[in-house]
Symmetry: C2
Subunit: 161 residues, 2 copies
């Protein structure tokens, strides 16, 4: 439940590696051997990232990948979106109600029929936002300090708990 797929995990692993070796061209094989991951799957993830424009690829021997953008502008959200596809917002709004057999919003009582209403939706949006505001540079940083939003959130949390 609520976990990333291996593809996304491998993709992030590879990207962090590429961030640590910014500028270098690194092959899928090198990455997979270094972290002992199934190299074909790492390759699939890298292909997805390349298609999305986050990576640049070079073919042939000595080929491989390198970041197409700065690690500080690439977010975890973009990476996951490129590999797993868009969010997965809970089906609990007009669409879902139509699927349930309601012809229009007019003849259904959202408040009483959809108890999750927007909150669950918003929770998942917040999760997504968290992904979108975390950059690869931050993810690659060994101790994860220097992340303003996260630190503020944490302070707020402990202050209210």
């Amino acid at each position: 439940m609520l976990k990333l797929t291996k593809r996304a995990e491998y993709g992030l692993t590879a990207l962090v590696h590429l961030t640590d070796h910014a500028g270098d061209v690194v092959s899928a094989r090198e990455i997979s051997e270094h972290y002992r991951l199934p190299h074909r799957l790492v390759g699939e993830a890298l292909k997805d990232l390349c298609r999305a424009g986050h990576l640049q690829s070079l073919r042939g021997p000595a080929g491989g990948y390198r970041l197409a953008r700065s690690a500080s502008s690439l977010t975890v959200g973009e990476v996951i979106a490129a590999i797993e596809g868009a969010p997965a917002l809970p089906e609990c709004d007009a669409m879902a109600l139509v699927d349930l057999g309601f012809d229009s919003l007019a003849d259904c009582d959202v408040e009483s029929r959809c108890p999750i209403r927007s909150p669950l939706h918003r929770i998942q949006e917040d999760i997504w936002r968290q992904f979108e505001r975390t950059t690869l540079e931050e993810l690659a940083a060994p101790d994860f300090s220097l992340i303003p939003n996260r630190n503020v959130a944490k302070t707020t949390l402990s202050a209210s708990a």
Copy 2:
């Protein structure tokens, strides 16, 4: 990817309903018919919640469930944990390294072998924290205002974006 199971969704739906009808005893059938959900599955979720002590059950005709605790003290995190089980932290620490064949932390170089390091771990922890700090009372509130932490987070986000 990164979505709740139906059981968790139905469980939250049922709980929001029970929150709206606090004090009443409501059967799984009533809830499932009201929201047009598979009633057996709703029942399974409710059983899980009952086993976890979040609900009180009454048998026999006119039986059903009611909140065992106040909606303001029950969190989304507790609900999900009761239904789906604990988190699902990424396997990217000592355990995983041992699984990969390293005998001890001493002979492996975490920094170079585990590029996700703690950050991904922390991202998922933060998601979980978000679940843990959202109460059912908040989830049941129609417009989701009055949620201090979330509002602060949002302000911070927009201020920095």
